[in-house]
């Protein structure tokens, strides 16, 4: 108690109370070793703390620390003797205030978040922790309140909510735009008596739209999850969800790769519907995807396509149509490849797309 001796000259917290004046952290001290600990801890902590005395009229503040002054902008002399409610303002949620009142009445510990106002009128989100402090006889002596500024957390939550709402709105509008484009193409096809051509155009446009659809949610990350795009492109070819098996992890790729990948999958699925595993009632397709490293150490996204149970293939078809030619060329622009092997029990295809990162 080396320090205690010197400080003994200073009035204690108790003495200040008895003298009917506010405790002054600068000149007064708390009694005993725990008082010393309290005093120093309160001075050092970044946590704003105040004590109120429920035995006095209107439960006024009798102590606050430096952090409290810093957080609220009020000086100790501004707040001592006043009830804490001066921190509230027009936008403070009265339901939270009611909870505080109830916790004080029932002497319970409470943590609430409420909007508080600084001396200069600016606001902050306060995670308020309050609880009763009893003396050695078990009688209520003080209420302890700690204030923590959680404005950053509130802002982050609000921004996240806003970003999600925006992504949904954009997604909704994008789908409508694709629906309108589909309408234009169909109407033009009817008017020009070219419905077989416009039908093909539309299928490809809609496949592209589906491929891009899931990219909106996480496009902000710079890459998109491959599995979501693959599933939404192929979804319409398997309305009962029992013909196409998806095997893949959360592999990601650049949004730019989506158009080539989406259209290639569309061509494979169209081909399967006409000649392959989706042209009968039994065939199945397994689509799997993963990242692979080539011999130059470059990462690629690889999508494996395996058809089984379709009509037997005696020899590779002579003409596989322009669809695959377009797909191969598109992939080549992304420096990707499409390999196809016609096994007896069905087509095996491998889409490979190098990743730039």
């Amino acid at each position: 108690m080396q320090r205690g001796e010197g400080d003994g000259e200073r009035p204690t917290f108790e003495q200040a109370q008895q003298a009917g004046r506010a405790f002054d952290a600068e000149t007064d001290n708390f009694s005993g070793a725990s008082g010393l600990l309290f005093e120093q801890a309160m001075a050092q902590t970044r946590m704003a703390v105040c004590l109120t005395d429920p035995r006095l009229k209107d439960d006024p503040i009798v102590f606050c620390n430096k952090a409290f002054e810093k957080l609220t902008g009020y000086r100790q002399e501004d707040v001592i003797g006043r009830n804490c409610r001066f921190l509230q303002g027009p936008k403070t949620d009265q339901r939270q205030v009611a909870k505080i009142r109830e916790a004080i009445r029932t002497e319970e510990v409470l943590v609430v978040e409420l909007l508080n106002y600084r001396k200069d009128g600016s606001t902050f989100w306060n995670a308020l922790h309050l609880g009763p402090i009893y003396d050695e006889k078990g009688e209520l002596r003080y209420f302890f309140g700690s204030q923590w500024d959680v404005s950053d957390i509130h802002l982050a939550r609000a921004e996240e909510k806003h970003a999600k709402a925006m992504a949904r709105e954009v997604s909704h509008r994008l789908k409508n735009v694709f629906a309108v484009i589909g309408g234009i193409v169909n109407i033009t096809g009817r008017a020009m008596d070219a419905r077989s051509v416009t039908g093909k155009i539309n299928e490809r446009i809609q496949a592209l739209g589906r491929a891009y659809e899931p990219t909106l949610d996480d496009a902000a990350l710079g890459t998109i999850e491959v599995g979501q795009a693959i599933r939404s492109v192929l979804n319409p070819y398997d309305p009962e969800n029992d013909r196409i098996v998806f095997v893949g992890n959360g592999a990601r790729t650049e949004p730019n790769a989506v158009s080539a990948m989406g259209l290639t999958l569309h061509e494979l699925a169209t081909n399967a519907s006409k000649y392959g595993a989706l042209s009968n009632r039994e065939g199945k397709i397994t689509v799997s995807w993963h990242h692979e490293e080539d011999r130059h150490g470059r990462q690629s996204l690889v999508i494996d396509w395996k058809e089984t149970g379709g009509p037997a293939i005696e020899s590779p078809p002579d003409d596989t149509g322009t669809g695959f030619d377009i797909a191969e060329r598109l992939l080549a622009y992304s420096r990707g490849t499409l390999d196809r092997i016609w096994e007896e029990d069905g087509l095996r295809a491998k889409i490979s797309l190098p990743l730039r990162s």
């Binding site: 789908k175 694709f178 629906a179 589909g182 309408g183 234009i184 109407i187 809609q206 739209g209």
Partner: protein
């Protein structure tokens, strides 16, 4: 000849649907608001309907959907925003077709629903 009610506020989609139903040998009436749809329902009998969920300015097809359900007229909900389908519409358990889907597909699905009440 079958009569189909279309409730759709986007002109190109409405036109495409109307043509597709006509190609399939049906007569399709296009309405662009719930009020117009109710007028059409007062004037004539329909065998089925395609309803766009969001009709702009916050209007949804919900009142028409509820009416059709009561009248036991088969209908499809056609929407680009499955999330925003209101609770009431979900409660109707009407078949939902996500936009974009080809007009021919819409026709196919709606004709597939016909007779659902006779069977039930």
């Amino acid at each position: 000849m079958k009569s189909i009610l279309i409730l759709e506020d986007e002109p190109l989609i409405a036109m495409d649907l109307q043509f597709a139903f006509e190609d399939a040998g049906a007569h399709a009436v296009v309405t662009i608001s719930c009020a117009e749809a109710f007028d059409a329902l007062d004037r004539m009998e329909f065998d089925g309907a395609v309803l766009d969920m969001n009709l702009g300015l916050g209007e949804t097809c919900e009142p028409v959907a509820i009416h059709l359900r009561k009248q036991r007229i088969p209908f499809l909900l056609h929407t680009g925003d499955l999330d925003r389908a209101g609770e009431a519409l979900r409660d109707l358990e009407a078949p939902i077709l996500a936009k974009p889907s080809g007009a021919d597909h819409v026709v196919e699905r709606l004709f597939g629903l016909e007779g659902q009440y006779e069977r039930a």
